[in-house]
Symmetry: C2
Subunit: 348 residues, 2 copies
Amino acid sequence: MFKPVTLKEVAAKAGVSYQTVSKVINNKAKVSPETEQRIWDAVAELNYTPNYSGRSLRQQRSKTIGYTWEPSPQDQANPILDEFLQSMFHAAEGKGYYLLSFPFHTEEKKLLDTYRELYYTGRVDGFVLSRLNYGEASVPYLLQRNIPFVAFGRLEEDDHSFPYMDVDGARGIAQAVEHLIELGHRKIAALAWPDDSRVGNNRLEGYFSGLTKAGLATDPRLVVRGEGTAEVGSEATGHLLSLPEEIRPTAIVSMNDLMAIGAMQAVRNAGLQPGRDIGVTGFDDTPTARYLTPPLTSINQPVSAIGKNLMKRLIELLETGSYPEPKCELVAPSLVVRESTAGYRPAS
Amino acid sequence: MFKPVTLKEVAAKAGVSYQTVSKVINNKAKVSPETEQRIWDAVAELNYTPNYSGRSLRQQRSKTIGYTWEPSPQDQANPILDEFLQSMFHAAEGKGYYLLSFPFHTEEKKLLDTYRELYYTGRVDGFVLSRLNYGEASVPYLLQRNIPFVAFGRLEEDDHSFPYMDVDGARGIAQAVEHLIELGHRKIAALAWPDDSRVGNNRLEGYFSGLTKAGLATDPRLVVRGEGTAEVGSEATGHLLSLPEEIRPTAIVSMNDLMAIGAMQAVRNAGLQPGRDIGVTGFDDTPTARYLTPPLTSINQPVSAIGKNLMKRLIELLETGSYPEPKCELVAPSLVVRESTAGYRPAS
DNA sequence: ATCCTTAAGGCGAACGTTCGCTTAGAGAGG
DNA sequence: CCTCTCTAAGCGAACGTTCGCCTTAAGGAT
């Protein structure tokens, strides 16, 4: 391919041993100023670039972080992927680290094998995980082998066995609930996920706590569970709107934007106007949210901050051997109010 | 970190020289079946994993491909990123290649420097570029240094100086135009991009050719240019709808979905119904498209096929030294018809 | 004069591979 | 019985670094 310039050539040009050149380059040198200058000149003149393989072979570290993620279905762009990736490798760059991405395998064994191979071949020094769910096999697998990693998301509410950062989903939904109550809503329904979703359960918790905190009763009939798709959101909302007047909700809190989109469709189908007649909120603040009719009130996650921080901490773990405190951290999302919760006019 | 298992340990266990183990592992061996079995047993027992740095140092290749991309603004998710990345590293995996992603620098010198560093340190063997535009400095930079790369997108219509795959944007827009003509539209407008966009110009060309082919006259007053945002789409459409009756368009072809979203808003603001009164089409088939009211007719790019193919070809280039024919390839996008072009009732 | 310290830089070794040449031994052919 | 060929495996070298110890010379203190 290309003729690599090596330490030896630089050394020859500068009239020193090649090990001395190495020392100068790595700032570990005891050298006279003149020699140092000669060496730097030679480096510049030959356009010397230290060879990565040689370096990592010697140092036994790859300065590379592995990351994989579950691909999104076609109708549902991953709203945070771009931002998350960008924030991570920007944080990594300054320290000389890069991000290696690799295929996500749904088959568990294959996925774990990929982790194993990447780590034990020395291609990566550690991993970033994301979107964890109950029973995620990767976590114990990596922990058991002492493979360094950090996660965006957690497994159990109070599990501090591995370093992570996560969005306080309960807090976010609670904010949405408070916002609706402030607008005058009293009967608020929730579109929730199946109860095998950790993230879903956490968010739903915020729904209950938000209501309770405001002194409102919770009603199991107002909580509908299903896959987080527009279709499910629409059907569930149709059902909610058909409830008898005295319990029929005037607002709907969804655990993600997609369900909220379905909800708004169902509201319109029922001849009602989202926002004015029925308040609707989402979660994720997908780019789509602002282009819906009406624009959707949603909850935005501080993705960049999380990516940057996770990377910074992982690198610190790799370089110092210990993870900085706090090992686990929750960050608050922020409510973005749009017209889907504006202009509510209580019927009574 | 971890105690790596080396060839020598395997060799000791199998009672052969370590070079022989290497040969067996790489299938370059002339060894007796029994010895081979002994070696494989030892490999399995010790859980041997060949060291990546050692290998790539010796072979002078990293089996890694670099990729960077311009981050999307927050309100505008990159509709193809996930699919493109996934398709690339799935195609790469089988051949033992992985994808290294790194920060995109808007500052040209810094970007080129990153390319240079990654290549000359031997961290990557080549690159994938995407979203090229006129005067893209990376292309000549890489060509001049003989750094291997492939591109998603081209620079000039008939430039075959580097290998690429691209979507035939003109063809896609022409399809949209044909579709509208078939529905009975005769006055069709275009929301185009500024003329410094190669992609935009290419797509716009399809608008003209589509009209011409159907024997319809083109009218410069029906072509509005601007940044590809919803705001611009909306304003431009407002302007188009205020044109005198005899030239006022009944359909609007946009160069991307975002402008089409704006267009539909403007149509509704004018008291008209997108689809029935004014046909609207987009480009990109973003996930948003199907959740708009009404769902947006758009043009879908075969992203996965492109990613897979590009990667396959780049690897072939790297391993054989020559790029497979055809060096440059255009692929046709497909029109996805939805309600924004359904139910048109000519006023006359 | 002798000893010690310090600055400046040399040098051998090792990180884990793969490549290509060499060699030992067995069997075949004359 | 000698030579040739072939097979199975060994062996030295090299890929480009970094690490830690060693050497040398100069200078200062005693």
